[in-house]
Symmetry: C2
Subunit: 232 residues, 2 copies
């Protein structure tokens, strides 16, 4: 009988924020898998679960999903990874693929899940705590209260209009992937008369370069930087 | 020495989706507390943790936070609850207040946290998995991929413009508190030429009346109903 594939959200970075269900599945699966962009780069998600899971007799497998700009390189790489995964499932292995934060928030896993299901295998998804929930808790702020809405927008060229629109219309805005864009965000707030004190930068929590506080345009921020803007 | 107050997100409804840290704190705290609107109504959040926490010698306390339309009734009720909480902290009790989903997403706890801190006590927040992450995982759909944004908008009179704006501008929209509003959401999608098949209703997952599927305007939905609209 073929094994089953699990997509496991392991939360934002603290082993304590892994769920009971995630640990239970990781304890009993045959293989813990993680996606990488280049061979051997390791996995933050795997580092999170390593100290809390029984690794005795467990196989650890990396799967390469290239981010090459060439479509055919990416597709070829993905199809090789999926083929190998299916071979392992065919041998009866249950595979748990770990993913940072929540599985539904910008993860590679959802592409894999769809393709593996289309090939006739069973899959299951275990949600995890997304980074923006953790960030708000560290800052001691709610994401939203009452009937307020929340916009989540990653910094990207194609999103500058969406970000402006969100600043105009939402009470609460989470700007993701903001590490290089604090000055740009400050400028957009200035243009709209939103006081800069309404923004809290949440950067590299629990990692080197941790910073939680107001926007400081003179410093550099680590890769895991989110800005929470609360207009009220 | 005064005790400490913890705000604990217990996730969307499955005891397995409680985090290791939440359980650790609940196991060792003196009092498990939960907010209610009227005395004796019970707590879904408490029901989630009851089977997985060591309740031996533990005190369980409800705190009433009235939703009365009269401001003075609400404020008076809140201040009595906070006073009682402070008295328990003064006696050296660590209190863990449980909250459904994530603490930062529409919870009463954030108001309490702020006031308790202002009165000089120590508090800590443990994030949980919000319902919309769980809902997406049950539906087998990502909330967002690539550089897409996500709008989260609860149904409310004052939000009809915000919801329209979100449907116009975002790739992904989560509509919360949607149990009575499926026909209204369908109409707003029709007006914008967004095919109704782009919407997935996620209702009362793991509870009586569970439904995960396309918008069905002929049926009634339970209180915990979310609609996930993915335009792409």
């Amino acid at each position: 009988m073929a094994g089953k594939l699990y997509g496991i959200g392991v939360g934002p970075g603290d082993s304590g924020l892994v769920t009971l269900k995630a640990r239970r599945i990781l304890d009993r699966c045959d293989i813990i898998a993680y996606p990488v962009k280049v061979p051997g780069e390791g996995s933050v998600a795997f580092d999170i679960v390593r100290p809390i899971v029984d690794m005795e007799g467990k196989r650890i497998e990396e799967f390469v999903f290239s981010m090459d700009p060439d479509d055919s390189v990416r597709m070829n790489c993905r199809s090789k990874a999926i083929d190998r995964m299916c071979a392992l499932l065919d041998q009866g292995n249950d595979i748990a693929m770990v993913t940072l934060g929540d599985v539904g928030v910008y993860s590679t896993y959802m592409y894999i899940d769809q393709e593996i299901r289309e090939r006739g295998y069973e899959t299951d998804i275990v949600p995890g705590i997304p980074s923006f929930c953790h960030g708000a808790s560290v800052a001691g702020l709610p994401l939203m209260i009452g009937n307020e809405g929340l916009a989540i927008v990653p910094v990207a060229k194609e999103n500058s209009q969406l970000l402006g629109n969100s600043l105009d219309n939402f009470d609460n805005i989470v700007v993701m992937k903001a590490f290089k864009s604090i000055p740009m965000i400050a400028k957009m707030m200035d243009e709209r008369g939103i006081d800069r004190s309404k923004a809290t930068v949440i950067s590299n929590v629990g990692m080197p370069g941790e910073y939680v506080g107001p926007m400081d345009l003179t410093r550099e921020y680590g890769y895991f930087t989110t800005v929470l803007i609360k207009k009220r």
